[in-house]
Symmetry: C2
Amino acid sequence: METLPDHSATAAGHAPPAAPNPGGLTLRRVAIDTWRENVAYLHRDCAVVRAEGFQALSKVEVRANGKRILATLNVVDDPAIVGCQQLGVSEDAFAQLEVPDGHPASVSQAEPPESIPALFRKINGERLGRDDFQAIIRDIAGHRYSKIELTAFVVASNRSELDREEVYFLTEAMVASGRRLDWHEPLVVDKHCIGGIPGNRTSMLVVPIVAAYGLVFPKTSSRAITSPAGTADTMEVLANVELPFEQLTGIVREHRGCLAWGGTADLSPADDVLIAVERPLSIDSPGQMVASILSKKIAAGATHLVLDIPIGPTAKVRSMPEAQRLRRLFEYVAQRMRLSLDVVITDGRQPVGRGVGPVLEARDVMQVLENHPDAPNDLRQKSLRLAGRLIECSPDVRGGDGFAIARDILDSGRALAQMRAIIDAQGSRGFDHQHPALGALTLEVRAPADGVVTGIDNLQIARIARLAGAPKVRSAGVDLLRKLGDTVRTGDLLYRVHASYPSDLEFARQASERSSAYQIGSAEQVPHVFVEF
Amino acid sequence: METLPDHSATAAGHAPPAAPNPGGLTLRRVAIDTWRENVAYLHRDCAVVRAEGFQALSKVEVRANGKRILATLNVVDDPAIVGCQQLGVSEDAFAQLEVPDGHPASVSQAEPPESIPALFRKINGERLGRDDFQAIIRDIAGHRYSKIELTAFVVASNRSELDREEVYFLTEAMVASGRRLDWHEPLVVDKHCIGGIPGNRTSMLVVPIVAAYGLVFPKTSSRAITSPAGTADTMEVLANVELPFEQLTGIVREHRGCLAWGGTADLSPADDVLIAVERPLSIDSPGQMVASILSKKIAAGATHLVLDIPIGPTAKVRSMPEAQRLRRLFEYVAQRMRLSLDVVITDGRQPVGRGVGPVLEARDVMQVLENHPDAPNDLRQKSLRLAGRLIECSPDVRGGDGFAIARDILDSGRALAQMRAIIDAQGSRGFDHQHPALGALTLEVRAPADGVVTGIDNLQIARIARLAGAPKVRSAGVDLLRKLGDTVRTGDLLYRVHASYPSDLEFARQASERSSAYQIGSAEQVPHVFVEF
């Protein structure tokens, strides 16, 4: 028998709780840029600080004009920064409130996010259900998680902590956290690569080929996170990629395709929050990779996706059993989400194309589109194969015919014309790809012996290109003059590093002295091709 | 065959890297309290920001007068806060640099901590070695980990992720991260409880009893983290607990014991950094608990430790198999660290003593020391048993005789005299325990039916006491008038809540209405005692 006790308060105990905001405060923009972290500044002698027992680093809720934002509290002792009657907020937080300086505002302790009990259960190793993932992702997308809570979620969901049903729930929750596009078309195609291969700019060829064929291909890409160039960084050499959402959809309707940065479209916004934690920890577990990629594509309205999984000794995926496990997880979740998915496992033994870095990669792409004699053939072949697979999504095309159709479109110049139309629609940057402006400071790395190129380390090439300044310095990067299997003599040029600043070049030089990324050996040491599709 | 290529830089490439601090900066104290997080403020137009490509939230290293600290960067647009030639730092960071306002200073990108590769291996589920833990803990104690990295370490070491060898390495590294005391005595005793039981202030009785017997007992305690009172909070009602290190050691030499806050002694400082992350995530895994407790005790110079593991339905440990597993892990690590350890498993079914909250608990302790007729007997008995176990560490005492010796010391008033001497040495607060000043606002919770008290929820009592203001409001808390097995009539007083602020009392009232923490039933429903030692 359990019975509830009754309660008798003494006289003093009947007083109602104190009002959450004694004394009106006025909002003050504090000209401090705290990037994505909202910070609120209150004077130590402010009545609210004393009444609520606030402490520096408390999480508070700031309210003004019906808007609410969460912020971290800093306590100020200088009335020149914020006075006792003021509620200071950092620049980004001020912008979110959308009220003028001096507007009435209030502040209170933030309620802990609703999904914290579910987070604690995940930390303790429990399997979570659909509602749990919905609640967690809603709080993450709403910026209600602290860095500590975000990190705990990411690490507790790392490795094989999520089973495939949980990955499906996570994907579904991430799609639901933002905007979901509907193109009102029966067939909306997309492609994606899991990453890790420098120079792999196939999207910029596949989009114009497939859009020229007539399929809707609304390609949104990310900027580089840990690589020397993302598709958005490279496309930005040619055209504007930060498009207002309405312009983006207009371009897709008119030209069947676009090559834009995805950040303006509010697609799977929880993903962007999670990446801010995953990146510094180098976390890229299968479950999180699948949820991140598929949620973005589904939110963008794709019905058919071709997914590129490169495999090689320095690629993200290093063995065929690993690639097959990852393929099955992608396929399981895609099928549950009603996305038609074609996984292709590709050669990831070395960088694709010649250039690594935004301008160098844009040059390679334009050479392929122009059928230039110097165009890198591996980039051309891989792009044609991926484009062919997408064209075969069309009910009119027989399996196996896609490659030839794609090649026709490229060889005839229709892909180039389509690309030019997309560039003009997005806003051309007037890039002169015949004479690309490359970083004027250069470093040439040469073969130390006669032999055959038996290895090119993707990770080391990426590292050298980043140290040289890419992607921030658009014209910086690495230009590869030799590829796997090439015969070289002592002193032959292997690659050239381009930089714009002496210190960048020096950092790249030090890295390439530690390891050049190239191995020279004999012909039989070239690792065989893992795959051919 | 792998051969290293040679490197030929172009003329421009030979330039040395840019100096890390172009243009001298002067230090400026920015009167913003960011608590334990160091923040550096630089103006957006500052040459260093532009040259180094700093971004808000970058981790930077600030150097002045040979000192170096790490800080998070905020970018400022208001010269009133920080000018272009100034390097602003938050209050706590400024204090760490120990130079006056206007002193020359420089700033550069912070190098990533050395132990990051080991951290990444732990995130990926690898077992780490002794050197890995040394490197990680050195970086953590040196405040070189970001919140993200700290959280990742804590979550990746959670649950059963650490094997017992790793727990030993972690403990050893935590001891090495700070000061290690050597009392030059063959026998230095200590006691510790894993926590979770409100009112369990046995240390304040065990220390005077055992020190009066003559053993060295340098007890340092923490403040409450999630509980309504820690030993340091309660002792602070009676005496000063924040003692300079030299005073602390002097008191121990003279009086054989002390009851001080451990924060000033730099014992296992990495532990304090980790707790800042473990607390908001409610993480208290066996491995981290063992490393945290044992490292503090070993660093404090203890040779013999009695460890109290309470067990009960609302205690931290809820079953005997769980208690035994935890005991074995403590014993394994203690033996590797050459600490003599006695684990006692105690009754954790309900709070110990009557008061919960600093003043209420100090009252209980003093009543026991004075052999007052109202003194709570459970607190007295438990303290005598723990003190007896410690006295038996002495080679002169036969196993089984300790309890009687402890009781003699308490009954004769020698323990009270010893406590008074320690209080005077630390600096008495002049607490009047006969008439303790309790929170004037009260709430009385009464029995809703006739019956027997069959359950008291430790967690709910702690929650109500915290909402009432404890430990921050020293005089707030819960005074328990009935304990397990007591017979009650409808309307009998179960407990009284004390608070100093109406809003605190109201929050406590709401919580006790949701659940009073008491169950009333029939005599046979009282859970039996798990242990008796």
